[in-house]
Subunit: 337 residues, 2 copies
């Protein structure tokens, strides 16, 4: 039975959403979930639900990382946090992967320090799903695990993202694109020009540069970029959706007739917002670490947690990291060597 | 009388929208407009309108730069294009500024080569307006004039953007922010960390880092970034708005009741899209060149052209470039020295 450690203290609605998500996942997918957190708080939450016979266990962790903790301080000062304990369960082989909807920076740093990277990987990358106009999903990486990437890192991101996409979405030969500022090969900055040159020689279905305005068009399944760019792209999209929501609401609230319109528009808009929330797709994996880690949005609800646990179990089952390691060592793209 | 050269062959709707916009601007603002383009085409369009007594003149340019021309080839091979002729009119003092809704890359490159930069400016920057949830406008620069900026360039962008904002929006002390991936000073990449350090020592109202998700919140009036990042931010916003529009339309077209809702939502959404189109604010100035240049969106209509001419005249009247030159030489931020 696949075992997933869940940081029960992570998200905005922890431990409630976490405990409920764990119960749903254990029931629907038969995944064993280790609820990692302050024993009393988790036990109290568990007692509210019927979960007899489900493969759920509490693993005590005395400390909690808050959203305000800096990544480095959280790692150094809170050695018994639910994130540390979850990462150690994975490191020791007691769990096949872990899920957290907590402070993204702290979770990434702690996981990176405790688990380390795969032998052929120089830097882990956070991969976030974007909904596309074609009704599918594109995955962009890196959206913030690292900054100041080199071309060799983007090559590794391409391979890791491609394998992840294959495993999760079942696409045989995902299209890989490079986020840049023009479609032509010569457009971009020093990093993307070098990366373009390298990517086109790789055994990938490389579709070339993808401009910002085509990200949501679904032209590529996997979109590769430096973590600074990806983070700005992700966050500006989230901010713009909020902004459009507010603006539409104001515009539509002005008259009774348009209020009627708003009722329908609101539903459509809410559906759309949900699509943009990567928790709907099971969160964002931190690819390249020695172990499976899925990071959920802070506002993850029980369904998001359930999906994240499912994805963690699927990635573990599909031996994602063995595949990444094998393909990377075959292709031989590493700055380490 | 202020004289503005207008690339009459530039936008998607040229020369119709250009000629109509020129007539509107000449009538409403008393600006003299030099319509630069193929004489017959412009004359033909002008003949459709009553413009007696308005200060409009045609300046012949035999060539037209298309949207597909590469910037460098357009500059080198089409020496008698409407863009070249417009830029030369500014260089020779026959026009106080120029406006083009043509191929942005080609217009920027041609203007840069022909006009050169201001003595204290190392690199020009394209400044694009973003609507904010507070009902105002933030200006982001650079959105694509250059890539691989250094911190000293971002300092220059900050000063140029701040002066531009003061002139156009009348704000006495605009707030200047730095686009980054976290609010804390230590967050970001090498470029933004160094730029943060420099910006906080400058005689500006520096509000620190602005995250992607806060761009539309209006936390800063002027948002400074490298041109690669700014271009991705601008283009992904445009693409997302298209995507949301399509998604909402589909969702709202499904039932008759929601179609009623859509009528209202569509209006609100169209209003919003209009706000995001920088032509509504008079286009995007290329700051730092020796001369005033306003770049309009390719799809500029006559109103957008009219506004761009107004802004060009205002910037010329306010002696924007003299102000930029004076403040930059006072602060002494230049990589040239």
């Amino acid at each position: 039975m696949t075992t997933i450690a869940l940081d029960a203290m992570g998200g905005d609605h922890a431990p409630r959403a976490e405990v409920e998500g764990a119960i749903l996942a254990a029931r629907e997918f038969g995944v064993r979930v280790l609820l990692v957190g302050q024993q009393e708080a988790v036990k109290h939450e568990l007692a509210k639900h019927s979960h007899r016979g489900l493969p759920l266990e509490i693993v005590h962790a005395s400390e909690v990382i808050s959203m305000d903790d800096s990544p480095v301080m959280a790692f150094r000062k809170k050695k018994d946090s639910s994130v540390h304990v979850s990462a150690r369960l994975v490191k020791n082989g007691e769990a096949d992967g872990f899920v957290s909807a907590g402070n993204t920076g702290a979770v990434m740093a702690t996981a990176h320090f405790i688990l380390g990277t795969l032998p052929s990987v120089d830097r882990p990358a956070l991969a976030a799903p974007f909904p596309t106009s074609r009704g599918g999903v594109s995955v962009m990486l890196d959206v913030g695990a690292n900054v100041d990437s080199k071309a060799v890192h983007l090559e590794q991101f391409a391979i890791m993202g491609e394998i992840y996409y294959r495993v999760i979405f079942g696409t045989r030969r995902p299209k890989v694109g490079l986020l840049s500022i023009g479609e032509e090969e010569v457009k971009g900055n020093e990093l993307t020009k070098e990366a373009h040159n390298r990517l086109k020689r790789m055994p990938l279905h490389f579709v070339g540069n993808v401009e910002g305005r085509h990200v949501f068009a679904g032209e590529a399944d996997v979109i590769v970029c430096d973590g600074f760019i990806g983070n700005v792209a992700l966050k500006i999209s989230e901010g713009l959706v909020e902004h459009i929501g507010t603006t539409l609401k104001e515009a539509l609230n002005s008259t009774l007739a348009s209020q009627v319109g708003y009722v329908f528009a609101r539903k459509a808009f809410a559906d759309f917002k949900k699509k943009l929330d990567y928790s709907e797709y099971g969160g964002a994996p931190l690819l390249g670490v020695r172990g499976i880690l899925i990071i959920g949005h802070g506002r993850s609800n029980e369904n998001a947690i359930k999906n994240a646990i499912r994805v963690a179990a699927e990635l573990s089952h599909a031996k994602l990291n063995e595949k990444i390691e094998q393909e990377l060592s075959e292709v031989g793209v590493s700055a380490k060597r």
